[in-house]
Amino acid sequence: MNLDKLVVDGWCDFSGDYENLAEVILECGSALGRPVPARGQEVVQELCPIVCEAAYPRSLSALFGQGSFPLHVDTAHWPTPCRYIVLGCVEPGSDLRPTLLLDTNTLNLSEEEHRLLNTTTFRIRCGRGSFYGTILSPDRGFIRYDPGCMEPMCSLGEQALKLLATERWSELAERIVWRKGRVLVIDNWRMLHGRASTCANDSSRKLLRVLVK
């Protein structure tokens, strides 16, 4: 794992022919911090494109099914999102759907746009754990952005969401094309990531994920 690249670029990757990919990404996560489960599930979670009807009712899959996922930060609905995400590819799927990565440190946003991201209030909707917050804040070092759970409280909020929308940045985003055994480490406090769209919504892609605090 290239920690220098992780610090400089906000992500890094490595590949191998691993017998137990889950163990590899868990070890990677443990080296970076404390792996934690999502939704009370196992620490190593399987992610496959699924249809809306089969998904958890409040999830990105419930909203977008097997289609593309907007750029977002994982666990933006936690008071403090997880620090890193470690993804490992078990099966890239026939459409080789890439993951998009966007470094928020390199965006050329105007002062007005920064102000919007810092001041516009959203409802971060997560059942009994819901709260209000902003996308950016001078009081913390991470970005909070997930259109799947962040509801604007006014029209300015709609503008703020669009500032970081996939449509605006897809050309600038890094495209990570998956292959079996590829491991991607993402600085979740800085990078937005999303699932790119393809012509065919192939459900055979299978990734493993570890969230790291």
């Binding site: 009370g40 599930q41 958890y56 009712p57 990105l60 997560c126 009994r128």
Partner: protein
Amino acid sequence: MTHHVPAFLPEALYSKSQLYIRRGFRAKQAGDLDEYQLWASLALELLGKAALAKISPALIADPTHQESLFSACGVQIGTDLKTITAKTLFLRLPHITKDFDSDVQKFCEQSALKRNAELHSGELPFTAASQEAWDKKYWYAIAVILVAQGRSLEEWLGAEDAKAPKQVLEDTQHAINGAVAERIQRKAEEFQKAYKNNQKREEVINASENIRAWDYFREFATGADEYWLAVCPSCTAKGVLAGLIWSEEISDEYDPDDPMVEFVDNTYLSEEFRCPTCGLALLGRREVVAANLPEEIQVRETREREFEPGYGND
């Protein structure tokens, strides 16, 4: 500007507890057992506060005293600082370690009461108490509180001074194991004598399958949060375990056929066991564990959903 004050610093509390037990040992060596127990009780309380303060200093600040709360959170607005009472301390410790059971809690509370009587009255609460019995309970409480904050007796006392308490703990555990084994054996023999006929014995055992745990709540010394059935190690009939709640978690699981319910997973720690069939009684967590009975149980409750399901990036 934030800064930490010694009153709530876990390191300061821990170090003071070490100093106090050393003063206790000096008193003991000089033959003054009353003074030994006094210092030891103070050391116990400070060690307990260190364990809580390690999680957060706010846990030992007097909640009714704002200067203390602010100080514990790193903002000093006053110099008169107060910590929680011993009673509050010993009510909070069960939430950070499963081994701080009701037996340990009672001992610690009694120790604090004796300490108060010693300091504030004409009584001699430590005199004539059985030193051996006190030692067993004291060192077990200390060991539990040390483990809760990732420490050991050797670290607290030094390797040399830790030898004797460790031996006390080993001997005590050995005695508990022996007493429990003997009690189980005795009840088994009594049960066999009472029901010599195999068929009758089987009938009695089978009938126990239908008992309802909560029907026996009056039999227990502990006021429990939950009662559940477990196989009696003496007669193999169903007996009743009583336990206290350790944690309550709302599950992320979701029933698509009944979206208006949510699942709550409660964990209860075993405190006491009683068998209505053979009369076996096991008091305290250590006896329950020594009998190889379940140390805890998870119970899932279903209740009407108060909030919509949580969100996830999946």
